[in-house]
Point group: C2
Chain length 244, copies 2
């Protein structure tokens, strides 16, 4: 009895690992949020696909664990990596109630590194990953993390910068960062990575404040050394500076 929590990587296409593809091929049933199941539907037309809507995360995990207890090989899919704001922890939290099920996490390329690759190399030094969603995290905690990360000169990677119900979170986050960092600080956004309408562009922190992000956007804020070259966002690791 096994449940694999599988990261699709960006867009579930060429960014998927061989291990993830094998897990989906071996599964009797694939469970996931509707939008993610749609990503794999074409490639696995003969699989049983079980979808649950957003905000029904506990139900989705219980469905997957329940099916696994019946002896089926179950794959639960997540966009990107299941361990970065994905279902891995919730499944493991619930798994104690389904003792015979063997749970395994299959990692994937997360939006931080997929978006970074599209922009160039913004994350090539110490970085902090912060979700701007306050559905499960008090905004005060998010604000404190933004401030501390900026003060410690981390590169920042911001997940969930906005949604229909939270259109102003990115602006609020930038207002906090602008108390610590210059408005000229190089930043970047990546959107729909690995999907149609894929987009990446550089901008300043001041411009990021006004950017209309959506739930398919990942935002990057450079550290003090990050610079823009052409359309690329680059954070030096320090090799050239050492030799200079």
């Amino acid at each position: 009895m096994s449940l694999l929590i599988v990261g699709l990587g960006p867009g579930a296409g060429a960014g998927m690992t061989a291990q993830a593809r094998e897990a989906l091929e071996a599964a009797d049933v694939i469970v996931g949020y509707t939008a993610y199941v749609d990503l794999v539907r074409k490639e696995f037309p003969c699989k049983e696909l079980v979808t649950t809507p957003m905000r029904k995360e506990v139900e989705r995990c219980r469905t997957a664990l329940g099916r696994a207890t019946q002896g089926e090989e179950v794959a639960m899919i997540c966009s990107g990596d299941p361990g970065v704001y994905g279902m891995a922890s919730l499944v493991l939290e619930l798994a104690d109630e389904y003792p015979p099920v063997d749970v395994e996490v299959v990692p994937g390329v997360t939006a931080a590194t997929a978006g970074a690759a599209l922009l160039g190399a913004p994350l090539t030094h110490d970085f902090a990953v912060i979700s701007l969603s306050d559905l499960l995290t008090p905004w005060d905690d998010i604000e404190r993390r933004l401030r501390m990360a900026a003060r410690a000169n981390f590169v920042l990677c911001l997940y969930n910068p906005a949604s229909h119900k939270r259109p102003h979170h990115l602006r609020h986050a930038c207002d906090i960062l602008l108390e610590e960092l210059p408005a000229s600080r190089p930043c970047g956004i990546a959107r729909n990575v690995g999907r149609s309408k894929e987009e990446a562009r550089t901008l300043t922190l001041g411009e990021l404040r006004a950017f209309e992000a959506d739930m398919f956007t990942t935002a990057f804020v450079g550290n003090a050394s990050t610079y823009v070259s052409g359309n690329r966002l680059v954070t030096p690791r320090g090799y050239l500076q050492r030799e200079a």
Copy 2:
């Protein structure tokens, strides 16, 4: 004229993406650090493979860029993701000197998420990634980031916790963290992920201080909510807590 900087993921096996594999198959020449080239030698026996030793990073990138200017399709390989302490930024820094070369980064599963998957789900909330190598970064900067990240209740993922020349960095880092966090704080280590002698285990921050890490180890320090269940390290995202 193109140079692809390709992330092999953990161990260059089943954790590699289809996009990375295609890039290596299409390359005329594969350039990399000796240990990483050895990982792909078996699978691509007919390719020209160019290796350079550690600490020769600038030379390695110039070799790759130079070969690309000669019209060859060049793939430079990095373990994990090329944008996380990899060669992506150095290549882009140097690329201005080789204007005709089109540089592209092919992301891979980085040690943070590959190690996390093996441990369970330690990174399923905001996290900070910090390298403990002070070859290119002043130790004072590393120390400040450790302290700020602990104070802001980030999960921590520590790259390069030790090497032959820096055997005590993990202990020094834990000493700083222990000023901010309890010795009982759940932690984890992952070693040789995706390779032979793969290993993952949970331990406390007090125990992590004494752990003999090597350069193939990634260390994880939980946030205030992280707990150990069986042999798993789990950081709740908050779904169950919201419903409780």
